[in-house]
C-alpha cells in the first residue's frame, strides 16, 4: 500500500513538474492557451497529491478553485484581450501572444 502510494506520488510529481515546464516555456511558438491549460493541469495534479498527503479539504479546494475557476479567469481575460485586438480600436499591434 505504501509502495503503491509512493509510486503514485512520484508519477504525479513528475507529471506536475513536466506540466509546469510546459506552462512557463515560451519558446518554439507555444501558444498562450496551452500555457494556461498546463497551469490548470499542475493544479489538478496538485489536488491529487493533496489527497495522497491526507488533506481532502485542501484537495477539494484546489480542484474547485485552483484548477477550475482560475483557468476560466485566464481564458476570459484572454478572450477580452483578443476581442480588443481584433476590433482594432485600441492600437495597431495585436501582440497578445
Amino acid at each position: 500500500m505504501t509502495v503503491l502510494m509512493t509510486a503514485m506520488s512520484i508519477v504525479f510529481c513528475s507529471a506536475m513538474i513536466g506540466a509546469a515546464l510546459v506552462a512557463i516555456h515560451a519558446r518554439n511558438g507555444q501558444s498562450l492557451p496551452i500555457a494556461i491549460l498546463a497551469a490548470g493541469l499542475v493544479s489538478l495534479f496538485a489536488s491529487v497529491l493533496f489527497l495522497i498527503l491526507a488533506a481532502p479539504d485542501v484537495a477539494m479546494t484546489e480542484a474547485a478553485i485552483g484548477s477550475g475557476l482560475t483557468t476560466f479567469l485566464f481564458f476570459f481575460v484572454l478572450a477580452r484581450i483578443r476581442a480588443s485586438a481584433q476590433s482594432g480600436t485600441s492600437h495597431s499591434g495585436g501582440e497578445y501572444d
Partner: protein, 232 residues
C-alpha cells in the same frame, strides 16, 4: 542575456536555501502543542467531526472573516477597475453561437451542480468540504450559465444583495456569540448535538452556509465582470 544570468544566479541562491531546508527536514512523530489541543478538544468543545472545519469556522473564525473580506474587496476592485474608463460605443462583438449540446446539457447540469454545492457546504462539519469549496461549486454553475449565453446579464444587484445579506448575517451570528456563548464567533449559541449527525456542531452549518453563499456570490461577480466584453 545578462538578465537571464542574474535570474539564474538568484534562483541558484534560493535553490541552495531550499535544498538545505529539504535535507535537514525531520518529520514530526507526534503532534505539536497546538495540533494536540485541537485534536483533543474539538469533539467535546465544538462537536464537529471535521477538525479542519472546526479550526476555520470557530477557533480561527476571525481569520476567516478577514479572508472573506479580502475576497469581497478583490471582487469589488475587479469590477471597479474594469468599469473605469470604459469606452462607450466601441465595436459590438457578435457572440459565437453555442451548440445544442451545451444548451441542453446545461439545462440538465446546472440544477445538479447547484445541489452539489449546497450539499458540500451544508455537510462541511462532517465530510471534507465546506463553505469555500461549495461556494466555488456554486460559482461554476453560474459559469456554465455564462458559457451557454455569453450575452446574458446577471443581475448585479441580486448578487450584491445576496452577498451583503450573507455577510451581515455572518457578522450578526458572530456578535450573538459574544452575548450567548464564550466569545465572538463561538459556535455554541446552538446545542452542539451528537458528534457526526447533520444537525450538530452548534452554529457551524449555519455559518458555513452563509460563507458558502457569500463566497459563491463573490466568485460569480468576479467571473461575470471579467467575462462581459460588451457594454452593459
Amino acid at each position: 542575456m545578462i538578465k537571464r544570468f542574474i535570474a539564474l544566479l538568484f534562483l541558484a541562491g534560493i535553490g541552495t536555501i531550499f535544498a538545505s531546508l529539504l535535507f535537514t527536514y525531520e518529520p514530526d512523530t507526534n503532534l505539536n502543542l497546538t495540533a494536540r489541543y485541537y485534536a483533543e478538544h474539538t469533539a467535546s468543545d465544538i462537536g464537529a467531526a471535521n477538525i479542519v472545519t472546526a479550526i476555520i469556522v470557530t477557533y480561527r473564525g476571525l481569520d476567516t472573516l478577514g479572508e472573506v473580506t479580502v475576497l469581497f474587496l478583490a471582487s469589488t476592485i475587479v469590477g471597479l477597475v474594469l468599469a473605469l474608463g470604459r469606452k462607450s460605443g466601441s465595436a459590438q462583438r457578435v457572440p459565437v453561437p453555442v451548440g445544442e449540446l451545451l444548451t441542453t446539457g446545461s439545462l440538465f447540469l446546472v440544477p445538479l451542480i447547484m445541489l452539489l454545492g449546497a450539499y458540500v457546504f451544508v455537510n462541511g462539519h462532517l465530510t471534507p468540504g465546506g463553505g469555500f469549496q461549495g461556494g466555488a461549486i456554486l460559482a461554476s454553475g453560474i459559469l456554465l450559465m455564462l458559457l451557454v449565453d455569453p450575452a446574458k446579464r446577471f443581475s448585479h444587484s441580486l448578487i450584491a444583495t445576496l452577498e451583503s445579506f450573507s455577510g451581515l448575517s455572518y457578522v450578526a451570528l458572530g456578535v450573538l456569540g459574544i452575548f450567548l456563548a464564550g466569545g465572538f464567533l463561538d459556535n455554541r449559541i446552538l446545542p452542539t448535538g451528537a458528534l457526526g449527525s447533520l444537525v450538530s456542531a452548534g452554529a457551524i452549518p449555519l455559518i458555513y452556509t452563509l460563507i458558502g453563499l457569500k463566497v459563491g456570490a463573490e466568485f460569480s461577480s468576479m467571473l461575470a465582470s471579467l467575462s462581459e466584453t460588451e457594454e452593459p
